[in-house]
């Protein structure tokens, strides 16, 4: 009898195992979280102007350092810097021999700028370390042995232009900021002829014929309209290429006459969306192409040679989309990043000599050759008729019916979703959820009207756009109405919390990663150096003093009593926009009301978690949380 029982047990185990194996064939294997969110080891690829070297930031001794690839002689590739307690933050090619770089130990660290010679490896400091922030000014390169950067050491709220020399000359302030200038454009001869000033809501373009003349206002934009200079037209010091939506809804490529103060002509535009940056060559001072993205990126070429090169690259990437990261002066070597929705791709350089791609690094080697989910472009109508675009990523091996859904509103709201490889969406789809991302009104890239439609609509029409999309997907039968989670970071997190407060019926649970719990706090900590933008924030969100009633109405922290669904909250202790005190209060209230709440507090982190273990932990908790409340 006993023997029989044992045999029986063994038999059952075998059967169960077989059944288990049978199931796993149909179900997607869970790819480890680490594979999705590991930080790449090699980043920041930049090619030297002569196309002989590629420099990148890699890891040595757990610290980010600059490495150099010699394209003509791979064997003489080398490590350029040897920081072992600091990270190289960013660098630029000054010329064919000098690389200028900044290092820091932690965020908000002192400013340290150095130059390194790639032939001699000699490193020299360009300034004394100081408590300040700096910005590169485009095009960033050496002009008469000096690099021009913007530093806010005089007054933390304004940046002055400094020229720092690599030949031992003393650095000098070449343009003191009267207080409102926030962008500068350097001509090829090193003169700063063009600046953009921003007076609270209005921005104005200022021009001077050369460094010795005073600036004159060329045009002044009311809020919402903008002009983004790209560079001077070839052989001209008065005409520029610019992206502008003055007098039109979508950003279009125009030529502008700074002296005549008029738009010369529109070069290219798209009816549906704003143009992207495209490609203006600082070397040739010509537009190579304009680009725009409705669902996938499209390019419109002005230069036949470039068009041919891109055609060749397209053939080589075998259908993958690609972005250009950097090109040399001759447009001879092009660093690109390939990607599709299901493939994180790799970084290559294309060499026009041998017409071939050369791989520099894989973007996410752990995800190579894994089965990943396709992302599809969608459009739907919001309740007031506005067309909202978005993307749906379906889990593999599932009927596209009645699926648990994760709604993933993007951060911003001044951002947009585009088609491409999305780690977060892939991670969630791999866990069996259909992922819904949308460009709610207020997202950028769809024109002035669409953007400004989101003004003062936080928790209002923006939230309705998200809700309408979810309702649409329920009606379509794609989403299971009882298993919908809303997950987001920053503004997306705010939307999730808002939904938890006011739309508990629709969602089964909500996840906020650095979501804004209190919009008063959001304003309180706008740092001094973005004060010029304050009025803009007032326009976009509202004025916390004059419209405090509305602020109270839309801030989740005041409505924690209305939350009826489980909430996961991840919060960095140094997050500028939402304070730990508010988050604590919110969590405490939920606990008092017996609402299940999961709270991840990382004191040392900011708005975006930087430490890999913290990122992984967040996604682990997210995985568990979603499994529990909308999983099978």
């Amino acid at each position: 009898m006993r023997l029989f029982m044992r045999a029986h047990i063994i038999l059952s185990i075998v059967i169960i195992t077989l059944l288990g194996m049978g199931c796993s064939e149909n179900r997607t294997e869970r790819i480890p979280i680490e594979s999705f969110f590991s930080t790449p080891e090699k980043t920041f690829f930049k090619i030297s102007p002569d196309g002989n070297f590629i420099a990148y930031i890699g890891l040595d001794n757990h610290c980010k350092n600059i490495f150099l690839l010699n394209l003509n002689n791979r064997d003489s590739s080398k490590q350029l810097t040897y920081q072992n307690d600091m990270n190289v933050n960013s660098f630029v090619w000054g010329d064919n021999e000098e690389i200028i770089f900044s290092i820091e130990q932690a965020t908000n660290d002192s400013l340290r700028l150095y130059a390194v010679n790639i032939l001699t490896d000699a490193i020299q400091p360009l300034i004394k370390p100081m408590k300040a922030k700096f910005r590169w000014v485009q095009p960033s390169r050496l002009y008469d042995k000096g690099i021009i950067v913007a530093i806010n050491n005089r007054d933390s709220s304004t940046f002055d232009l400094h020229k720092l020399y690599i030949d031992g000359r003393k650095s000098e302030v070449i343009l003191q900021n009267p207080g409102n200038i926030n962008s500068w454009y350097i001509s090829n001869d090193g003169q700063v002829r063009l600046v953009m000033a921003n007076d609270s809501v209005e921005e104005s373009l200022m021009y001077r014929a050369d460094n010795l003349q005073p600036f004159h206002q060329v045009l002044k934009n009311d809020f919402g309209s903008t002009i983004i200079p790209m560079g001077f037209v070839k052989n001209s010091t008065t005409n520029i290429y610019a992206l502008s939506n003055i007098g039109r809804d979508k950003l279009s490529l125009i030529e502008y006459d700074l002296v005549g103060k008029r738009e010369v002509h529109e070069i290219f535009s798209n009816k549906e969306v704003d143009l992207d940056w495209g490609d203006y060559s600082h070397y040739t001072n010509e537009m190579n192409y304009a680009s725009y993205t409705v669902s996938k990126k499209k390019r419109y070429f002005f230069n036949e040679k470039v068009a041919q090169i891109f055609k060749k690259i397209s053939e080589k990437t075998k259908g993958s989309e690609f972005d250009v990261i950097d090109v040399d002066a001759q447009f001879d070597k092009i660093i690109i990043r390939t990607y599709t929705d299901t493939n994180p791709g790799a970084i290559y350089y294309f060499d026009c000599q041998d017409n071939d791609l050369h791989k520099l690094t894989d973007n996410n080697p752990n995800l190579k050759d894994r089965d990943l989910s396709q992302t599809e472009f969608i459009k739907y109508q919001a309740r007031d008729g506005k067309i909202i675009t978005g993307f749906i990523t379906y889990p593999l091996h599932e009927d596209r019916k009645n699926l648990p859904m994760v709604v993933l509103p993007h951060d911003g709201p001044n951002q947009r979703e585009v088609w491409g490889f999305d780690h977060e969406a892939q991670f969630l789809a791999n866990r069996g959820y259909v992922v819904f991302q949308m460009n709610y009104r207020g997202s950028i890239g769809f024109g002035k009207e669409f953007w400004s439609a989101g003004f003062k609509e936080w928790g209002g029409k923006i939230q309705d756009d998200i809700t309408d999309g979810v309702k649409w997907l329920i009606r379509e039968g794609i989403a299971d109405k009882d298993r919908i989670a809303i997950v987001g970071k920053g503004f997306g997190g705010y939307s999730a919390l808002h939904a938890a407060c006011f739309n508990s019926d629709m969602y089964a649970c909500a996840v906020s990663y650095s979501g804004f719990t209190n919009l008063f706090t959001y304003f309180r900590d706008i740092p001094p150096y973005v004060k010029p933008y304050l009025q803009k924030y007032y326009q976009i969100i509202g004025n916390p003093v004059r419209e405090s009633g509305m602020f109270k109405q839309i801030s989740p922290v005041f409505h924690s009593n209305r939350v009826k669904i489980p909430v996961l909250l991840a919060q960095g202790g140094k997050d500028r926009f939402s304070s730990v005190t508010d988050a604590n209060q919110f969590v405490q209230k939920l606990k008092n009301n017996n609402i299940p709440v999961q709270y991840i507090l990382k004191e040392e982190e900011g708005r975006t978690f930087k430490k890999e273990e913290n990122i992984i932990q967040y996604y682990q908790e997210l995985e568990k949380f979603l499994d529990k409340y909308i999983g099978k």
């Binding site: 209190n518 008063f520 706090t521 304003f523 309180r524 900590d525 916390p544 003093v545 405090s548 009633g549 602020f551 109270k552 801030s555 922290v557 005041f558 304070s579 005190t581 508010d582 209060q585 209230k589």
Partner: protein, 552 residues
């Protein structure tokens, strides 16, 4: 037949001792329970006050822990209009908050500002100062603008200013705001008043520090909000959740001594915390009130104890009854053995004598041999008969025999029995009248023994000259009715219920021998076993009628 004097031993003394003990225990327990109840009520009076205290303070704690810190959510952006809305919601939901003063504060490094509190270049002054109260018409606002009116409100400002300044002074850029700091610096609690300054971000505090270190070269203004809540503890709503324990609960100043009066009173108190600290909760109850409570809680206890006592008494009665029944059973069995031995004794002794005579006689004549043979035959038949009767009776009792159903033709069945009886008793006159259409479904052996018994009884209990039996069988729609009517000695009505009992015999000259009192009991058992009924009617001296009823 003589009465048996043997008896089952019953010890009623033990039962009595048990009863006495239980009763004593009952009174002891009731007494102890009463003492316990008095102590319990006394303890409850002093212990339950903390629950009343907690419940009474629920709104205050909610106000202090949730509503006051809510000010910080506004991050200093409150103006007097929005502050009014906040004040209205607080004043209307917490009646013990009497008045709210709102200081719309500016922290700045403007040394030219004359008003407010200044320390090391940090100027803290209210832009506006509004006082909110509530009446039945709604929110009542008063703005303080004149300097002379400011007087009483300056204290709060100054003491908050000093606290903030000394905290900022010690602040390091790496410092973090701990909960302890928050409570110590941004709350000021004194009896009757709570002052709260919205908690600044640590970055704001660092700017204030820079101001105090005169590091800033341009004028900055930072908004902060300060609220002063005046609370009146006497307006706290006391939640007396133990109206049975506390006759009266009051909020009185902490210094008031309990008034002693002639009437004895139970009194206990509990001081209120924090901003309410100059008041206490005073709990009173009169002596009669407390004794009423004692009685009230004693009643169910005494009820419970009595119930247990009653159950014990019932058990006692059941034990007594059980003893009685056992006694009767014992008597019955004793009778049985007694009678049976007697019954067996007669034939056995006759056989013994016959055997002895045969043994001692030198020779036996044919006459003698036949006589002794007849005697031995008769007596052994009698023994056999006795044993059969006993055996089948105990079988029926134990339900070990099976009921064999057969169709019985009553005419021939009765003829056979009557013929064999008259063979035995030539002087027995049996008449019969059988009027049936169908046959009866029954066990013939068992039915024979019922008939035999009833016929034997009729013969046995009849006068020598009137040995007459009339058997009538009729069939109606449902039943066969079988009637045996004799003209014997009859049975007294009072014996009707007893004659069917085992070993019961009516004392009479007719049953001196050959009867053990099983016949009728046996008949009843068998009849009922076969699904029939048996009943008796009789008149003393005139005769007896037994009626059997079987269903068709």
């Amino acid at each position: 037949m003589r009465e048996t004097s043997y008896n089952y031993r019953k010890n009623f003394g033990l039962l009595f001792v048990f009863f006495a003990f239980v009763t004593l225990l009952y009174f002891v327990v009731v007494f102890a329970a009463r003492n316990y109840t008095i102590n319990h009520v006394d303890n409850e009076f002093t212990n339950r006050k903390s629950e009343v205290f907690d419940l009474t303070l629920v709104p205050f704690n909610d106000f202090f822990q949730n509503r006051v810190p809510e000010v910080s959510f506004y991050q200093g952006y409150l103006d007097s209009l929005e502050a009014g809305k906040y004040a209205y919601s607080v004043l209307s939901s917490y009646p013990f908050v009497k008045e709210i003063a709102f200081y719309d504060m500016l922290f700045s490094n403007d040394v030219n500002a004359l008003a407010g509190f200044s320390i090391n270049g940090l100027n803290i002054r209210p832009k506006t100062l509004s006082i909110f109260t509530i009446n039945n018409r709604g929110l009542n606002k008063r703005y303080i603008t004149k300097r002379e009116e400011m007087g009483p409100f300056n204290d709060e400002l100054n003491s908050m200013g000093i606290k903030i300044a000394s905290y900022i002074d010690k602040l390091q850029s790496s410092s973090k705001l701990t909960d302890r700091d928050i409570l110590r610096v941004f709350y000021a609690t004194q009896p009757g008043r709570i002052t709260y300054l919205n908690i600044p971000r640590i970055n704001d505090l660092l700017v204030y520090k820079d101001i105090m270190d005169t590091k800033l070269d341009h004028i900055v203004n930072y908004e902060q909000d300060m609220f002063v809540f005046n609370v009146d503890p006497t307006l706290l709503e006391v939640k007396n959740i133990y109206p049975n324990l506390y006759e009266r609960i009051e909020v009185v100043p902490i210094v008031r001594a309990p008034i002693t009066s002639d009437v004895k009173e139970y009194v206990t108190e509990m001081p209120l915390p924090g901003a309410l600290a100059d008041y206490k909760l005073l709990f009173h109850s009169g002596e009669s009130f407390i004794s009423k409570e004692v009685n009230r809680s004693f009643f169910p206890i005494v009820l419970g104890i009595s119930l247990v006592y009653l159950i014990l008494l019932v058990i006692l009665y059941l034990i007594y009854r059980n003893l009685e029944i056992n006694g009767r059973l014992f008597k019955l069995q004793y009778d049985f053995i007694n009678n049976l031995t007697h019954e067996f004794k007669t034939p056995v002794s006759v056989i013994k004598i016959a055997g002895n005579n045969i043994k001692s006689a030198p020779y036996l004549s044919d006459e003698e041999r036949i006589m002794y043979g007849n005697i031995l035959d008769q007596e052994s038949d009698r023994l056999n008969n006795l044993m059969n009767k006993l055996l089948s009776f105990s079988q029926i009792e134990n339900k070990t025999i099976k009921f064999k159903k057969e169709e019985i033709d009553l005419n021939s069945f009765v003829d056979n029995i009557v013929a064999s009886t008259q063979l035995k008793h030539a002087d027995f006159k049996i008449s019969k009248e059988i009027n049936v259409k169908s046959s009866l479904l029954a066990d013939p052996v068992l039915l024979t023994s019922v008939f035999q018994n009833l016929i034997d009884n009729a013969y046995k209990y009849s006068d020598q000259k009137r040995k007459i039996l009339d058997i009538k069988i009729q069939q109606n729609k449902k039943n066969f009715v079988i009637i045996f009517r004799d003209e014997g000695i009859g049975i007294n009505k009072s014996e009707f219920s007893n004659i069917f009992k085992k070993f019961y015999r009516i004392k009479s000259q007719y049953n001196q021998q050959g009867s053990i009192g099983l016949g009728l009991a046996f008949c009843k058992e068998i009849t009922e076993f076969m699904g029939g009924e048996i009943s008796v009617k009789s008149e003393v001296g005139k005769g007896t009628t037994f009626t059997l009823i079987f269903s068709v």
